[in-house]
Subunit: 389 residues, 2 copies
């Protein structure tokens, strides 16, 4: 959403005002004696940046006449979901039944599980229960899955909308756009209400690909809507991704967007030009636990905290303000390579780590440490942490 | 521990009796109507294999006169920790204060945090509390960390043992072996009891490297013990890793071993020859949620379930019994490439996925689905899931 130009990695490595502000802010917290801000590893959220991100995406959606249905897989936090709804979001998007349950239990009244569910195991009963508690929409991309949903939901299917997933070039799940109508017709004959179509332009997540993926997405959704028309159905919902592509998802055919990462942003979105440094709302607080030799420091942030998202060359995360990269991870160790001719990081130094991909990071923590505008902090539970099925 | 020869990847891809047994067993559970065994994604543990693994490692340790102090970072399960202690384990190893707390709360009386802790934030108070509840040992590898531990523990330091971490060739944390005595002397003068030395031969985790890393480990520990002698101290505890190197960690100098992964084993240990197929006790149950084109199936197991452990070439996991690899992951999608001239996997097919590295997998789930010898199943909480600090 930032609309900034593509950035080279070297730009990102440079210390900037934004990072410096964060570090000052954080250490002000330490001086104020806030024990939670001396904790690591911890997921630190800057409340004012979070609020700005939520407001900006809502303004974007409003100004283009789209509904905003944020994907909660990124934050898995009831508190943040409530901020999004209060700002004007139409409802939320979930990736699993478990995520939907957490938000339904918190009173969210309109939930779309944007995933091609196979409704077996405990999901049968859980979906029936969800349908009683919230306005529930479910993704579908095969006749077999529609059959299983019918078996699971029975009479409750009248309370549920199906939304047909189409594939728009990402090589992901979903029917070909031209086949959307036929599947919708099939599900309609099973007694389901089919509300429309959705897709995810996952191929917009590499540098330079955002506009292209968004264009593919618009064309695919347009074709899918036509295939609904061809079988005498109407696609009321025409739903698009994603944080990297949102700013280009302005086709008239699109009725809603489902970005997730924009609440926090991350290194990947920064590299893509999908956010500015000042829009990054989440860091992982880390402490140097080993500094035995010049040129190397080991942090207490490993694969269990930030995920193995990245590779040794581009790194698994970067120290904000300093630019040092984590080039190797163990479960509880993160290895930084430092220039030997620069000041080293002694044991005990706390640093903020910018992850490449924020979603798995949040899912690693039970709580978010939210730095409030007054410098205090609140602990917010990652309410739907895990909840993989 | 299996003592089998190094295996090529092709061997692993072949269907075998072991996997076939698992699949039959699992689907017997389904036929018996056990809803928990129709659930995905789920972490399925075979109780009889788990029990065999625990007993075999204990026999190995006993027969070589070593104490066994299993690392609980792998299972994070109080139930499994109790099985290990009941089988004869001396105590447990933890990687974080949070893990230690969970097991201390469950009554485990002897806990070693084998990590170079920096005792700041809430860790100050939490370590004091732990020292009151369990026999606590803590890793240390710098004077600064010893100073901070002194500040955190105060008078309680008398109830805590420090164990000096040495580096044995893995490029990990730890002092040079020759420096162990000097650090032990420093900590002793701060009023700590220093019980000995520990190391982790992390460079034994690549094929063919196990014996070599274990030899490095033995030499480094021997030198560290000598450096204790040189300053007039005794290293009572001489502690070694790890599942891949355990069977070679028989040097007389070693008093205890700290393997973790042996309870479950995984694809990495299988490739290393550190276990047999029949020793694998954990699989991730997955369901095909998309099968739009021949040669590809998408599972509901993505990076949030099995972690991004691996790479596109060797894969992020393999379907047991079939050999198909996950070559790409999204958060909730795992992509399988299938031979187009073989039977495809239709939507709704359940398959067991063997992960490369089991530790992050367990940490992804709130519960383990434990298949009991009678074919029933129990849900065991992953009690220390998360608990990263």
């Amino acid at each position: 959403m930032g609309g900034v130009a593509e950035k080279s990695d070297d730009d990102i490595l440079a210390p900037t005002l934004g990072w410096g502000w964060f570090i000052v802010h954080r250490f002000a917290g330490i001086l104020a004696g806030n024990v939670r801000l001396r904790e690591s590893p911890a997921a630190i959220v800057l409340h004012d940046t979070l609020s700005d991100n939520i407001a900006r995406m809502q303004r974007f959606a409003d100004s283009h006449g789209k509904n905003l249905r944020p994907h909660v897989k990124t934050h898995k936090s009831v508190e943040i979901g409530r901020l999004q709804l209060a700002a004007g979001a139409r409802g939320i998007t979930a990736g699993t039944v478990g995520e939907a349950e957490v938000f339904a239990n918190a009173g969210v009244a309109d939930i779309f599980i944007a995933y091609p569910l196979w409704a077996s195991g405990t999901k049968e009963q859980r979906l029936r229960s969800l349908a009683d508690r919230t306005k529930l929409s479910i993704g579908v991309e095969s006749r077999a899955a529609a059959d299983i949903l019918l078996a699971a939901l029975g009479e409750r299917r009248a309370a549920v909308s199906l939304i047909v997933e189409i594939e728009c070039g990402a090589g992901r799940s979903g029917v070909a756009p031209s086949q959307a109508g036929a599947l919708a017709r099939y599900a309609t004959e099973l007694g389901f209400f089919v509300a429309g179509v959705y897709t995810y332009p996952g191929h917009g997540g590499t540098p330079g690909a955002r506009e292209h993926a968004a264009r593919d997405q618009g064309e695919a959704l347009t074709e899918a809507v036509r295939s609904f028309d061809a079988v005498g159905l109407t696609a009321d919902v025409v739903s698009a991704g994603s944080t990297p592509t949102a700013e280009f998802s302005t086709d008239r055919v699109i009725t809603e967007i489902r970005p997730g990462e924009y609440v926090f942003n991350d290194g990947d979105n920064l590299r893509l030009g999908a956010c500015r440094e000042a829009d990054i709302a989440l860091f992982v607080a880390a402490t140097v636990v080993s500094a035995q030799e010049p040129g190397r420091a080991i942090l207490d942030v490993g694969s269990k905290a930030i995920g193995r998202e990245g590779d040794p060359d581009r790194g698994f995360g970067v120290v904000a303000g300093l630019g040092y990269r984590l080039h190797k991870l163990n479960e509880y160790h993160g290895y930084l390579r430092l220039p030997v001719d620069e000041p080293q990081l002694p044991v005990g130094t706390m640093v903020p780590v910018l992850p490449n991909h924020v979603c798995p990071v949040v899912n690693s923590f039970d709580e978010l440490t939210v730095v409030m505008p007054d410098g205090g902090c609140e602990m917010w539970p990652v309410s739907a942490r895990g909840r993989l099925n």
